[in-house]
Subunit: 339 residues, 2 copies
Amino acid sequence: MAPVPSVDPDLASPKPSLDALFDLLGPDLVRVNRLIIERMHSPVALIPQLAGHIVSAGGKRLRPLLTLGAARLCGYRGERHIALAAAVEFIHTATLLHDDVVDASELRRGRDTANAVWGNKPAVLVGDFLFARSFELMVEDGSLRVLEILSRAAAVIAEGEVAQLITANDTATTEAAYLAVIEAKTAALFAAAARIGAVIATRPEAEEAALERFGRNLGIAYQLIDDMLDFSAEVEELGKSVGDDFRDGKITLPVLIAFARGDADERAFWRRTLEAGKQEAGDLDRAIRLVERRGALAETLARARRYAGDAAAALASFPDGKLRRALAEATVFTTERSF
Amino acid sequence: MAPVPSVDPDLASPKPSLDALFDLLGPDLVRVNRLIIERMHSPVALIPQLAGHIVSAGGKRLRPLLTLGAARLCGYRGERHIALAAAVEFIHTATLLHDDVVDASELRRGRDTANAVWGNKPAVLVGDFLFARSFELMVEDGSLRVLEILSRAAAVIAEGEVAQLITANDTATTEAAYLAVIEAKTAALFAAAARIGAVIATRPEAEEAALERFGRNLGIAYQLIDDMLDFSAEVEELGKSVGDDFRDGKITLPVLIAFARGDADERAFWRRTLEAGKQEAGDLDRAIRLVERRGALAETLARARRYAGDAAAALASFPDGKLRRALAEATVFTTERSF
């Protein structure tokens, strides 16, 4: 077994980034982006307008990068990873559109959300369109195994989103329940995106499983950091309003830790703001102070780093080289990012 | 070519119904219903609760019946039609859930809608779940051709729903645009549901195309009657509130005809109520009187009967027998129904 790749952020690169990954996969990603534009076309003009708004909003394209990177890491030399990476991004985009409706969000990555611009109705329906289009892309690819992996992931994502609604406003949510939610709503698609790279390269099950593990752990780390940033970063850096989760009454790890470590007065604060949903001016500032003071952000970051480490470790059986190092750096980037 | 099946409602049966179809396909439909219940299960209990609310609301199961009937008409003797009929119904149910959110409907088939009971959020997400589950069922079936037909239909449905939003509130909508909308939002799934029956029976393309034509024309007829009933039937009969489309500003054929035939005063009425969206007490009653007086309901019914006739005619190449007669009767039922 090859040694576990490790990237010490203090030594390897002062500021871990996705640059190496973009460099290696850039030409593929350009083709994915072109296909995305092409395949979100519809004679109903509002569909590409609305879909284009969110697709062009400048996401990191992390999930399609996983498919591209996993395929290349498995030595894949064909063309199929392009369309499947686009299919993965369509599922993600459909989920974002529906999420923003569900959360009644008005900003995403610093721009108005689709539902804020066009209303909820087309946002729901264009999400449905992209979801269907994603399956059309997979069907054209023709792998039932890929279809199986991604249709399962899509069902699990929806289950995770519903489970999240149920745990919302409930400070008695366990960490296990929280983890189950983020594993389903976020990590399942990361895992599937990476796994299908091995599938199209017709690699053995062990490699599929390793890439699945890579994606899953990376996805959990990614979501933990997302939940942390909601209590810490500036709107300008994050490109989304800080405090969204707090206002929605979402129960995330920073809250669970701060609640568990808080005194009676602090618990009463969390119960009022998140369970009773009674929030007033200054509450978000206080929430941010509390998660900070109780070490909840540091603890969330530490956990995220552990998952990111497990993600990097899952790459151990693949040949060392630029791509593996770039993927390992992506796991570090995930936990050090501020957006 | 066998003679075109024809069922004269005045001769064959005083009151056309789906009874013959239910008699012939009842055992299959029982298995479909059982599978639907089984496969809407999820560890997230709210999902089967919410999905069960709409699934058990007593729809006519027309779309799965088309799959079952088409398969049997093609001499199919296997088991695959059961799961695929369930997949079709899941797509339909997902669409209903999202429609009710989009239309902010509070009643469907005389019961509270899922969004009225649980709110919009879980209704959107459970729709997504059912959609994903539908693809899981198709993947288990393993036919890429079926996946192609139904993923295409799902994309077209979403396009039709978005197009409907665009034509809403616009009395200058053409009949062609209206027809394109209902063909996409309703008839595409009818067509696909019937076509896949021929696919699994491995019948030649001509039979696939004939069943597609049967489903498409039946779907158009069905939607025309739906749009007519919104201006005519009683809530109790229809199981849904009369006037929903009017209140939503939807531009349906009865409105287009009444508008085209109306005088200046009537056109001003339609513009105020549907374009400007300014409705007051008594407006729905006046709308119902106007579509009636201008013969718009009779004309819509006549058109629906023509499509239903085309649907029945599409069955001509299949062997005569109980099943073909029951399917032909279903086309008549579609236009004579009051619910």
